[in-house]
């Protein structure tokens, strides 16, 4: 039978507040185990959590960027369960009145645009980290992460395949990075995604039984896990079996999902309002101030790059994928460089060097000012595009100004006709064979001769002039 997948995503993102959400402990990820802890995040009796204002503001920023309604009045609730990652046996979260609800995000997948509904985004605390590699059959618990600001973003079951799920995560991460509310580092766990997956016969409306896939370390891993899970469920049903509602993990090495725990009779978390924390009221004025503080968001910037700089949708997408890249690009263009040329040098040439040397753009010695200065040298004819690659590499390594490199290495382009002409005569004299071939009609040989001319001028001849002059001299000497 033909099936249609129905997928909803839950993303937990650690917001980059300096201190934890309910106490003043640092959120530094790299601190030694159990050194960023206090009576509040250790869950000692008698303590009083106080909410971090910045955590609320960041949550509202995300909510607004996801086109959510911001709750005028919301509260914190206790979610009760026993697990060693929470010493007080409940997690402070939000139940029926989340800070943000009923939004959407537009994604592009399979070449078309699609709107994914956002059910809610609510504020909560992260839990402690369990380590299983301790000797002696014990598990170790590190409370540094316990109490770190966490925002849980839940979508509607609008996602129809692994590719859409990947596109959603990519779009969401980009948005969060633009808002500068999280580093979204999956390896350090600051962004964690789970997928609720079910399938139903194509064309039907009711939902099938879902499984929840979690603990996947990368977006591509989630994409593969979803693909696997869809196929597994389809095979199961085709063979007359039934999907069991359960949590499944992802084994990246074997490329399979595996059962972690049956969800018997759903969890009973017995939520109730946390009496230690007072309600959060976000009035119109506060929401307005937060809305005004929002930076330009990726989709708007992409559209502006296309219309304002005349870039292709592809180039605009590449340049705006990371906020740092987009900022860099605009800094270059602002200096009067041609937008298309700047796009090409940044996203192709410089990017290739960055990738090769595993370097971040912001750490590169090729600053926006230096790249702009180099592009100007190309535009005013001082150097050719070919020579510019050499200059770029030098700048990348040495951090020198492009003008200094050009002077030092004597790379100024030869635009002097007589100099190119004499070089052309030498090339013709030295290559009688190819010249004869060219004259007998083999146009292809011309390319070889131009190459020889460029070589004779050490690549410094103005390429267009080299072409013209060589043709002219070939004709004259026929």
């Amino acid at each position: 039978m033909k099936y249609e997948p129905v997928i909803g995503m839950e993303v937990h993102v650690e917001l980059s507040t300096k201190s934890k959400v309910f106490c003043g402990c640092s959120t530094n990820f790299h601190a030694p185990a159990n050194s960023n802890v206090c009576p509040v995040c250790l869950g000692m009796p008698g303590v009083l959590p106080v909410i971090n204002k910045r955590a609320v503001e960041m949550s509202v920023m995300v909510g607004l960027a996801l086109n959510c309604t911001i709750s005028r009045w919301s509260k914190m609730d206790r979610k009760n369960y026993f697990y060693p990652d929470l010493a007080k046996n409940y997690q402070i979260s939000q139940y029926d009145l989340p800070l943000c609800h009923d939004g959407f995000i537009d994604i592009k997948a399979n070449g078309t645009s699609k709107r994914i509904g956002i059910t809610r985004a609510h504020l909560e605390e992260d839990t402690a980290r369990n380590t299983h590699t301790i000797g002696g059959g014990d598990s170790g618990v590190d409370f540094n992460r316990c109490g770190v600001t966490l925002l849980e973003i839940v979508t509607e079951p609008d996602i129809r395949g692994a590719e859409e799920a990947f596109a959603y995560l990519t779009e969401l991460k980009q948005l969060l990075r633009y808002l500068d509310v999280s580093d979204c580092n999956m390896e350090e766990g600051s962004l964690r995604a789970e997928a609720n997956i079910s399938i139903r016969p194509t064309g039907t409306e009711s939902f099938g039984t879902k499984t929840e896939v979690k603990n996947v370390a990368s977006f591509s891993g989630i994409q593969k896990a979803i693909e696997f899970e869809i196929a597994r469920q389809a095979k199961l049903i085709d063979e007359g079996g039934k999907v069991v509602q359960e949590t499944r993990g992802w084994d990246a090495d074997r490329g399979i999902t595996f059962s972690q725990r049956a969800k018997e009779s759903a969890h009973d978390y017995r939520y109730f309002p946390d009496p230690d924390l007072v309600p959060i009221v976000v009035d119109e004025a506060w929401e307005g101030r937060i809305r005004e503080s929002l930076p330009e968001l990726p989709q708007a910037r992409r559209a502006r790059f296309e219309s304002g700089y005349g870039l292709s949708a592809y180039d605009a997408g590449v340049l705006t994928a990371e906020k740092e890249m987009a900022d860099y690009y605009e800094a270059v263009v602002k200096q009067g460089c041609a937008p298309k040329q700047a796009a090409n040098w940044l996203s192709v040439e410089l990017q290739a060097l960055l990738t090769e040397h595993k370097q971040e753009l912001t750490a590169s010695k090729v600053t926006a000012d230096r790249l702009a200065a180099m592009l100007k040298l190309i535009e005013d004819g001082t150097i050719s595009g070919k020579i510019a690659k050499e200059v770029l590499l030098d700048m990348f390594e040495s951090g020198k100004e492009p003008k200094a490199i050009v002077e030092e290495k004597n790379l100024v382009q030869i635009s002097d006709t007589s100099a190119i002409e004499s070089a052309a005569r030498e090339v013709i004299a030295a290559n009688p064979g190819p010249v004869a071939e060219f004259r007998s009609g083999k146009e292809k040989t011309f390319g070889f001769l131009v190459g020889q001319l460029m070589k004779a001028t050490k690549g410094k001849a103005n390429p267009q002039m080299a072409n013209e002059v060589l043709r002219k001299v070939l004709k004259e000497t026929e």
Binding site: P32, N34, W73, Y81, T131, S139, P275
Partner: protein, 100 residues
């Protein structure tokens, strides 16, 4: 009308990770039933047009600024741990089902 059955008591005890003897279970069937019966009494009140009370405190927006304060020394943090290796709180091996 029996509001609470023994099965309900056992379920709630299970959630709280409590082991109860038979006599206590019987006692709780009665006590929890009484509590729910009182709720029925409250339900007799006409609450039309009355805003639900979502929280008992009248205050709102008590915040702290996002500033880092000193944490406990690790030694102090681990002082009351039943078992520790000096770095971690040690607990009996847990199966990582990764609840949250």
């Amino acid at each position: 009308m029996a509001k609470i059955t023994k099965a309900d008591v056992e379920y709630v005890a299970g959630l709280a990770q409590l082991t109860l003897d038979e006599a206590t279970k019987e006692k709780l069937v009665g006590e929890m039933g009484d509590i729910l019966a009182y709720m029925d009494k409250l339900n007799e009140l006409n609450t039309d047009g009355i805003e639900p009370t979502m929280h008992v405190l009248e205050m709102s927006n008590v915040f702290r600024e996002d500033e880092v304060q000193p944490s406990l020394d690790r030694e102090a943090a681990l002082a009351n741990a039943p078992k520790t290796d000096g770095e971690y709180f040690l607990v009996p091996k847990i199966l990582d089902t990764g609840d949250e």
